[in-house]
């Protein structure tokens, strides 16, 4: 893929970070479970690479906050950290992991990104953003427990998405049979 295409794709993924939460907002409860802003960031890292994924993770939430007020600016810093790590790690993993099986590549990249992202964001929050506030225990439970359905859904949706995009011949297939 040319740089131009990767750049424009990244722009589109950033736009999706703004649009998807709105689309899901009207469906009950979907917003907090689906974490719709995470999906374009993860896809960008998987498809375009770590630099582009990283940028999407930073710009996406900022633009979304500016345009739609979701997430509220107060949540922004930790979201930026978390999402940029997602984009970064998925990109790096896809670069170095080649198991000849697309599903395996995707799952390894996704799981490592989702875990790393949450850990780094948690550390950042504890050290910088919400220093001295409520205890680690409260954070840990709220974050991982309520986040679990979202993780599962993302793991289910994203590989299907990648396959669909490849089938529609919009991105080059990773492994040609």
């Amino acid at each position: 893929m040319t740089t131009t295409k990767k750049s424009v794709l990244t722009a589109v993924f950033i736009a999706l970070c703004v649009v998807l939460p709105m689309a899901f907002h009207s469906i009950q409860n979907a917003g907090s479970i689906f974490l719709p802003m995470h999906i374009p960031v993860l896809l960008c890292g998987l498809i375009c690479g770590w630099q582009y994924g990283f940028i999407t993770g930073i710009v996406g939430p900022v633009l979304s906050s500016l345009f739609t007020g979701m997430p509220p600016m107060a949540y922004l810093p930790s979201m930026i950290v978390e999402l940029s790590v997602y984009g970064l790690v998925t990109g790096l993993m896809m670069k170095f992991v080649h198991t000849k099986n697309l599903y395996a590549d995707l799952y390894i990249s996704l799981i490592s990104a989702l875990i790393t992202g949450r850990i780094v964001a948690g550390i950042a929050r504890a050290l910088i953003f919400a220093r001295g506030s409520y205890s680690m225990a409260a954070w840990a439970t709220s974050y991982f427990v309520t986040g679990l359905p979202g993780i599962i859904i993302q793991l289910a949706i994203i590989p299907t998405l990648i396959f669909a995009i490849q089938k529609a011949r919009l991105i080059p297939a990773r492994y040609t049979k």
Partner: protein, 287 residues
Amino acid sequence: MQLELNNISLTYAISTPYETKALSDVSFSAKKGEFIAVMGQTGSGKSTLLKIIAGLEKPSSGTVFFNGEDINAYSYNKAKLRSYVGMVFQNPEYQLFESSVYKDVAFGLKHAEYTKDEKHRRVKNALETVGFEFDKIKDLSPLALSGGEKRRVAIAGVLAAEPELILFDEPVAGLDPVGRNDFVNTVKKLNKAGITIIMVSHNADAIAECAERILIFDNTKLIKDAPAAKVFADSKTLKNIGLEVNGAKYLADLLKKRGMCIDDKLYRYEEIVKAVAEKIKNAGVGK
């Protein structure tokens, strides 16, 4: 009356700086089995009209009655409406997403209480109506098909619900003449089977071949509601709104200017060809 629209108006984003009027005081009714075409410039409100009939948008004022019931009444079950009124959007190939054609066409039936056999029958019927061989197409991935095939799959998806009224928004946009003819034949077949059709289109040729009645919109208002023959006989009104008559009628008008007069009531391709052939034969005989 199967469908009744009374004084429908729709304004988007009321009392914001982005307020836009989409429809102004539109009223008309349709009997079961009619074939109505809707013409008008882009932005004149045609797509919005369809969405209001399908219950996807709520009018700012006015009522819509389907089979005698007010579809925007609090007690009306919109989900039920979906099985009676089907809508095929513009470029419907972009709605496809399932892993096989069968699953995509069956998508709309998921929430209805049909047996597995009944679902199978409907999907098979729908795919065959749009011209596919069921066994060849059912397991293919819809995303890997050609544009024209994708469109037919999308239409099949709407047909599977076996609606009484089908709304089409620009169904032939982007199709080559062969595709267009195939569509016209399919939709005529559906209409003959008793399904009411309301079709929005810019393509006068397609409209001429299937519609009996035409609604013309200009700038959010319904300005003409007349039989197709009358509408195509009046090329001046059409031109004023930026529309044109169909190719066959255009030819007839040109011939009239050169001295060969054909019955003004004719506008369809076959009829005009026959009439012109008659004239030429008679002229030859005369000599």
